[in-house]
């Protein structure tokens, strides 16, 4: 893939085109703040990133749509993204395959998403399925290299090309270094589509092998212990009376087949329905209830009888007392009736007949009759009490008899119950054994001898197949393939470095695919670029360039699926002091630095020419050498008011807008 055109659309439909030349070195030379450094972000946005990542300013405010026209092979693709509002991510995208012309602003409508765009581009440049599986013990998810990962090799942004600490684009962002490390093997061709297929095959084969091994083990085990198991089950069946005890000949030990056949008949026999005898239970319950209530009644009777006893006792006592009274009162019967006038022997006064003494007599008589009456009443109670007592005793006797009957009934029922539960138990046990037999028969693998041999040999084959696939997927194998590929890249790195006379280039330099830096193998040991062991300025930029050009050389030769362009932002920055921001004037550099810069460009130019159109380089810089070869490469010159964003776009409507909102250099606030 190479870049044909950058197209920017303004909010009112104006178009700004930047034309690039395929297969050549393109230079955009310009002053600071003309939009050069936004190109990396804009390119990435059009190629499917989620945000334009353009700083707030002229560009973000005046551009409505960003678009790239790219060429892949002989096909053109138009990739467009709408601008975002604030920090929001944008997923809308527009993809037109082989546009006959550039779409007009009014025609710009999203027809896909950024994610799908990336997918499309991946397959368009030829990234097939691949998978980097981390070795056991690492916690990363297996990473499939996709389109985004190919872009590591296509950009060297500001702050990257002259940075000794990192070699690759975005290497210093979180997780990116690991992603680079994980996907580099794929892009180098050390790991490919075949591997994925092999991995799937391996999983399948392993499963098949496991199944075959299980089957084999089971069949072999059965061969060994077949008769034991069947025989044991047969004995059990006899014990629980599922099988006649003489169903098997005691003299000849039966064959496995015979035993199994007999067991099969047991399983096949229909199950007899159980004897559901619950009436026993009911009778039991009734008898128990009646017994309980009778016992209760007997207790009541005892209490009542006791009460009667107590009452009788008291009554007797009462009666005997009454008797005493009666007898003494009855003495009146011995007293003569007549009165005699006499003197009171005690007080001497004359006792007259009549008066109080007559009262005494009649009083006694009254008392006598009263007592007699009470006795009579008490006497009447006695038979009543007696009757009650007799009735209670009779009832108690009846109860006793009945209780005895019930106890007999209960013990008879209990015996029957015992029998019933034993029977139920027997049926249960039979069902259990029947179940065991059924399971055994069902799990038999039953192989003929010839089948067994076949199974053995096919298991062996599977085992061999699994082992061979495992061998080919050895991670060590991948590592060595990576090293082999890198070694070829490194040869190129060394030759490019030498042509720039970079420090240590004579010793041989290489890319370390794990550490992701350049290292020179000097006599006194390896010198790492990221450890500051290689000198500054030209060397830093030079090694970055050498590495990238060497990688692309390899990608092109091996036809690896990486876009065939590199966008390089300010190769000359190595020579500018770090604090120089705006207004950097190329003319402030020393001659040496300027010459060195030119030699970098010359290298780029020569490489591009050598590739005969296969590689496209886009460089953004202050530099503007007068040499012809250089001037021929310049596609845009952003000076004296020319910039990425046309000045006219900065005055949006016919009417005014406050100049203070834009980043024009000559503003006066009113």
């Amino acid at each position: 893939m190479q870049i044909e055109r950058l197209v920017l659309y303004s909010h009112i439909g104006e178009m700004r085109l930047v034309e690039f030349r395929l297969g050549e070195l393109n230079v955009i030379t310009g002053a600071s703040q003309t939009g050069k450094s936004s190109l990396t972000s804009i390119f990435r946005y059009c190629l499917g990133s989620s945000k334009p990542d353009v700083p707030v300013g002229a560009i973000s405010q005046s551009v409505a749509w960003y678009a790239l026209l790219v060429r892949i092979g002989d096909r053109s693709l138009f990739l467009a993204r709408p601008t975002s509002v604030g920090e929001a991510e944008v997923s809308a995208a527009l993809l037109v395959v082989e546009p006959s012309r550039l779409p007009r602003f009014e025609e710009l409508q999203p027809n896909t998403t950024a994610a799908e765009l990336r997918q499309y581009l991946a397959s368009a440049i030829g990234i097939e399925e691949n998978l980097n599986v981390p070795t056991i013990g690492q916690t990363r998810r297996a990473l499939a290299a996709d389109f985004v990962h190919s872009l590591y090799y296509c950009f060297q942004g500001q702050g990257e090309i002259a940075n000794p600490e990192i070699l690759f684009h975005r290497q210093n962002r979180e997780w990116q270094a690991q992603a680079i490390r994980d996907t580099l093997p794929y892009f180098l061709g050390a790991q490919g589509i075949d591997e994925l297929r092999q991995r799937q095959l391996l999983t399948e084969r392993r499963r098949e092998l496991r199944r075959a091994e299980q089957l084999l083990a089971q069949a072999e085990a059965e061969e060994a212990e077949g008769i034991d198991r069947a025989g044991a089950l047969l004995l059990e069946a006899q014990e629980v009376e599922l099988v006649e005890a003489d169903g098997m000949d005691g003299s000849d030990p039966p064959t496995v087949q015979a035993a199994r056949a007999l067991l099969q008949t047991v399983v096949d026999r229909p199950i007899e329905p159980g004897d559901e005898n619950d009436t026993i239970g009911a009778g039991f319950e009734n008898a128990r209830l009646e017994l309980a209530s009778l016992r209760e009644r007997a207790r009541e009777i005892a209490t009542e009888l006791q009460g009667l006893e107590d009452f009788s006792e008291v009554a007797l006592g009462y009666e005997s007392e009454l008797n005493e009274h009666h007898t003494r009162l009855a003495s009146i019967g011995l007293i003569p009736d007549g009165h005699q006038s006499t003197d009171c022997p005690i007080c001497g006064t004359s006792i007259e007949p009549g008066g109080p003494n007559t009262e005494d007599h009649s009083r006694v008589l009254r008392e006598l009759s009263a007592v007699a009456r009470r006795l009579e009443l008490a006497g009447r109670d006695r038979p009543r009490v007696e009757r009650a007592r007799a009735e209670l005793l009779a009832e108690r006797e009846t109860i006793r008899v009945r209780i005895s009957e019930l106890n007999q009934t209960l013990s008879a029922l209990a015996q029957t119950n015992e029998l019933v539960s034993r029977e139920r138990h027997r049926v249960n046990v039979q069902s259990y054994v029947r179940g065991k037999i059924a399971q055994y028969l069902g799990s038999l693998v039953h192989l003929e001898a010839s089948e067994l041999v076949q199974l053995r040999s096919s298991t062996e084959e599977l085992r061999a197949s699994v082992e061979s696939i495992e061998a080919s997927l050895d991670p060590a194998l991948i590592r060595s393939r990576v090293e082999s590929a890198i070694a070829q890249v490194n040869r190129k790195v060394t030759s490019l470095a030498q042509s720039l006379n970079l420090e240590h280039s004579e010793d041989g330099v290489r890319i370390d695919p794990n550490r992701l830096t350049v290292v020179a193998d000097t006599e006194s040991g390896p010198a790492y670029l990221d450890a500051g062991q290689i000198g500054s300025g030209l060397n830093w930029v030079g090694y970055h360039l050498a590495a990238y050009l060497a990688l692309h050389d390899y990608f092109i030769t091996r036809q690896r699926p990486v876009p065939r362009f590199i966008l390089i932002d300010q190769p000359s920055q190595a020579f500018f002091p770090a604090d120089r921001q705006s207004g950097a004037n190329f003319d402030d550099l020393t001659d040496t630095d300027r010459e060195n810069t030119k030699s970098l460009y010359r290298l780029m130019y020569d490489e591009v020419v050598r590739h005969q159109g296969a590689l496209q380089l886009i460089a953004l810089d202050h530099a503007d050498f007068e040499d012809d070869w250089y001037q021929n490469c310049v596609v845009e010159r952003w000076r004296d008011g020319e910039a990425l964003i046309p000045p006219s776009w900065l005055v949006p409507e016919e009417n005014h807008q406050e100049p203070g909102a834009r980043e024009d250099t000559d503003t006066d606030s009113p």
Binding site: N323, T327, R328, A330, H339, I351, E359, R363, E367
Partner: protein, 165 residues
């Protein structure tokens, strides 16, 4: 002197009714006369009746009326201990009974002595309803009549028993 009508408790009324006590008096006096040849002092029934009615005392009375009274008293202090109280509570009943009996001619009054009178003939069935206790009281009354009759000095009799007239 109290009358029966003043006595309301029917127990006491029945148990100590004048007819019964009159029978006892008649029995005691009758024996006393046989032994002593004369009537009984009028105050002696107030001692005799409580003794006769008290069952524990009755049980321990000597079998022969010739027994030494003072010796018996000395040997049976427990029967003496409640005697005074019983005598006091029975006094009105005894008095009523004496008067009743004398009016009915069950006993005869001769100066300060009481002499035997006459009882009606026992009606048929009387003996059947007689309780053992009633019979025992009468038997004791008869014994006491004899015992008292053999004492030489009736005047000191009360004092010997610890009672004052």
């Amino acid at each position: 002197m109290s009358t029966l009508s003043e006595i309301s408790a029917s127990d006491e009324m029945a148990l100590f009714n004048p007819a019964f006590l009159a029978i006892l008096l008649h029995a005691a006096i009758s024996e006393h006369e046989k032994v002593a040849g004369r009537g009984i002092e009028v105050h002696l029934p107030f001692l005799l009746v409580p003794l006769a009615l008290h069952q524990p005392t009755r049980m321990d009375l000597p079998s022969k009326s010739t027994a030494q009274m003072q010796k018996w008293i000395r040997e049976n202090p427990r029967h003496i201990s409640g005697l005074h109280k019983r005598a006091v509570s029975l006094r009105p009943f005894v008095a009523i009974a004496i008067r009743f009996a004398s009016l009915r001619g069950v006993i005869r009054v001769e100066g300060t002595l009481l002499r035997e009178g006459a009882l009606k003939r026992r009606p048929r069935g009387y003996a059947d309803q007689e309780t053992d206790d009633a019979r025992a009281c009468q038997k004791a009354a008869r014994f006491l009549g004899r015992w008292f009759g053999r004492q030489p000095d009736p005047a000191t009799l009360l004092a010997i028993w610890g009672l004052r007239p």
